[in-house]
Symmetry: D2
């Protein structure tokens, strides 16, 4: 089928290519002219404006938006709407907050448009291995874009599904990332323990490779970790600095709002925040307190 695609970056560019290989017609736009040119060169239709994107598509259109969460999504929709027709479908495939997705769905519905939220996992590996997609929205609308989803997925009937009404796609993807934080942290702690156990002279790269087969912890994350450790066994040059991109903290907020205790996902987030703290007041306070009551020496700067 025909799909408009806005945002041809790391994720969007690969998705366009997987769709083209799957026989779909992709009309793609990016503010980065190079990305658009690359799309055209690969055999899809790269266009230089949202206007051209809309013009190059037949109604009912389905336009997949792959831009940073937040205002960019609203702005893109606002620009597109006046050019589009009733029944056209907006698909948000980025990492939007599910509350925004519910709002966008409801607003667009009132104006005669359709909206689908797709939580998309798979990262830079999706072109080759397919994307895991959690889809939220009206059932009949999801059916309309089924051909696209079946191609993007690892297999037509695997790795994707409509998880519920509007918002359910991004909600499930949000928690997916929360779980991902927890798994990553568990692995990282384990390897840190190995590194610290000097007298056994363990080899993290070897251990990761052993675990890839037959162990309880075998997983895609471990496969990637094993490859990364093979390439750089001591992680030389990598700073101990870990960003978080939103879904983790939203998962924590949501768990608290829902009165679900989620200590591990929460600690994983806290630990990432900790990795970015400079000149830590908490620890300096503790040092001062110890000195105040016990006369313990303080390390100075």
């Amino acid at each position: 089928m025909e799909l408009g695609l806005i945002g041809l970056g790391k994720m969007g560019g690969n998705m366009a290519e997987r769709l083209r290989l799957g026989g779909h017609k992709v009309v793609g736009f990016d503010f980065n002219k190079e990305a658009t040119a690359k799309l055209t060169a690969a055999g899809s239709v790269g266009v230089n404006s949202l206007e051209d994107l809309v013009k190059n598509m037949q109604s009912p259109r389905a336009i997949w938006i792959m831009v940073p969460a937040g205002d960019p999504v609203d702005e893109t929709i606002a620009k597109l709407k006046p050019m589009m027709q009733k029944g056209d479908i907006f698909i948000d495939g980025g990492n939007s907050n599910y509350k925004d997705s519910i709002r966008r769905h409801d607003e667009l519905k009132k104006e005669g448009f359709e909206f689908i939220d797709v939580g998309t996992s798979g990262g830079v590996w999706g072109l080759k291995e397919g994307y895991s997609m959690m889809v939220g929205g009206d059932e009949d609308v999801v059916e309309k874009i089924r051909p696209v989803l079946e191609t993007l997925a690892p297999a037509p009937d695997k790795g994707w599904g409509r998880t519920g009404p509007a918002g359910a796609g991004h909600f499930v993807k949000m928690v997916h990332n929360g779980i991902e934080y927890g798994m990553m942290q568990a692995f990282a702690e384990g390897f840190a323990i190995f590194e610290a156990k000097k007298e056994l002279n363990l080899n993290n790269a070897q251990i990761a490779e052993i675990w890839q087969y037959g162990s309880v912890v075998r997983s895609w994350l471990l496969d990637l970790t094993a490859a990364a450790l093979k390439a750089n066994p001591e992680l030389k040059g990598i700073a101990p600095y870990v960003p978080d991109s939103g879904e983790g903290r939203w998962t924590v907020f949501e768990a608290i709002d829902l009165n679900v205790s989620a200590p591990v996902i929460t600690e994983s987030l806290i630990r990432r925040i900790r990795s970015r703290e400079q000149d830590n007041l908490t620890d300096r306070m503790l040092s001062v307190m110890r000195n105040a009551f016990g006369g313990h020496a303080m390390k100075t700067e």
Copy 2:
């Protein structure tokens, strides 16, 4: 090669069968006569005493011990030793504490015996998929039992390795289980959030299945979870009660001893402990304190 195997339970029984299928001669013993008989019926050599086990084997013997960690391992070794000869190999394939393994290795070495510690992962699935094995001990001794390890492993060159000197096998397996606790807890928290989000009416079994393909969290644990949720979507009849078998808490102790901060593995353990607490004093204390300073109502029993 010929291998003695003591303990023919869930793990040991399956290992014997995988070894037999791989062309090895297994001489097996279990206090449970039924398990021994089953071994014989399957085509291996089931014996009814440790004496018979030793007698039925040629020196240098390799005897794989698959009994509960702690005293049973020491007792088994103590009983066997007088019947065995210098150069015979003891293999502890259970979940022993690595400190015990180092001690046993050193003690046995002094008496002319060999000792290998094998952390064995794979659970009830090992017969079919092979076992992940982390092996600690002297390099030349590990080489002597290589044929057995290559058969038990998922593939001769995959899923196993000598991770270091005596103790290194059980140490790595211990941390493996700590990581496993963290991964399990992360998944469980995620699904609990889904269940609590009533208005989206999410389906845990469906979500687990979607994630099996293409997602970042795809893993063997998720495969098993998806199957379990398919069979019992609401986990009916299952009590919220989670034992821990030792390695998790040892990992926590070790992390603290090594001064490695491991909040997620630690929280996973704490959460399991919490699941078994009855009539919780901590929470009753909090309720009383709130009442004491703020006059807040206390829920009574």
Copy 3:
């Protein structure tokens, strides 16, 4: 000075009495007629409507609102505004979210009114011991209500202060409660450890009493705990069920928003949430997973 007081419950009623004893004229209103009557009986002016409250006061009025956080505050202000005059002062002494307080301040300021947010701590003991008050708002307006603050405080120059602009009062009170959660949880865990150490036959009530003098953990919370344990050493009849009233979770949200790692305050909140979870899915999932990979027995319900 003259002060209007709306909300004569546990906190408000005691504050009125402390103010009266300090020589102030309190005009008080509560939907509960009994509370109003009690105020009158005590020698203050109890009124039966907001209209009467406003009428019974001289402009510039200062009206202290002591109602539940959220809509009740906005509704009370909305009802009062049409009856009040430019320069009149609204004081929110409840546990409002500081973001609401900033909004209210800014909105009221535009309409010519003044707004002060007062985080009030001290619970049911405030009448006797005075209230700790963290005050946010414009400096000149805080000065106008200084007589009231000096009386409510433990001493005119102790236990209160303007901590900053609008919102700063409730912000500081919010974090105060977060810290309180952490302290309470630390104590409760300690006493739970004592209870579990059966062989030493420790006595929580005695220990709490010992610590009241000379120990590092001596504190008002400990004093209250010691009294509570003396009255009910085994906490008989108290359910392990711990509500949280908002400020704790707001503190956690704020810490994350500010990228400050606050594991202990966060864990204290999570633990309270955990105390209220029934039929815990997380733990049931863990039990099922253990069974799935290791064949471990599951406890059934």
Copy 4:
């Protein structure tokens, strides 16, 4: 009464002085000649060897040992024993592990000596304010040293007590310190949140001072913190580096051994460990993993 005192450092020196002021005869020894001389100068009996200490005392002797936990305690007892007589009392007032105290009590008892373990809290403030003492050991022996305990305590009948049999003193002190870790961490996190809330321009020193009167968090730790913040509002020159002295981690181990969930005390310890980690592998692993699956940029060193 007469008391031998070994170890005249920060704690021991002050205790000697408080005892002297209370009318007791202190015979004190320290390897540091200066400390001994200071004791003599103050009016007590400073001696230059353990032999002299024993010789200068009448049997039944009571000797209070105030040396670092672990081997130094055993070594001191071993050196003293041959010079002492049946019925003489050893008192361990340091931060020994309670398991060692039970062992020492039982060993000494068999040899005809007495042993008392005293968990001593109060730090550098004890001279002035008295020490909180948690006493473990045989009831009749505790009675024999009662005069000393009544003088060291904040008041003869306050701040001390026999909490149980041998080990109970150090056990209660151990958990006391665990609670202390949690309280300290809760305060430190709160002040870190204030510092991060730039737009409210909060003043930690002022807030600490306000809270000293009437708030729920008022406590001795807060008093000390307020004084420290007044002296150094920005904690200039203090490194974010927090040692832990043993009791905290023992409390965590004990909680796990007893199957008591204690997340806050545990997190407080983990956070201290974290403050001392250099070149953190955990966080570098997380960064590498994010890059591996999502192509996210890594911060480099």
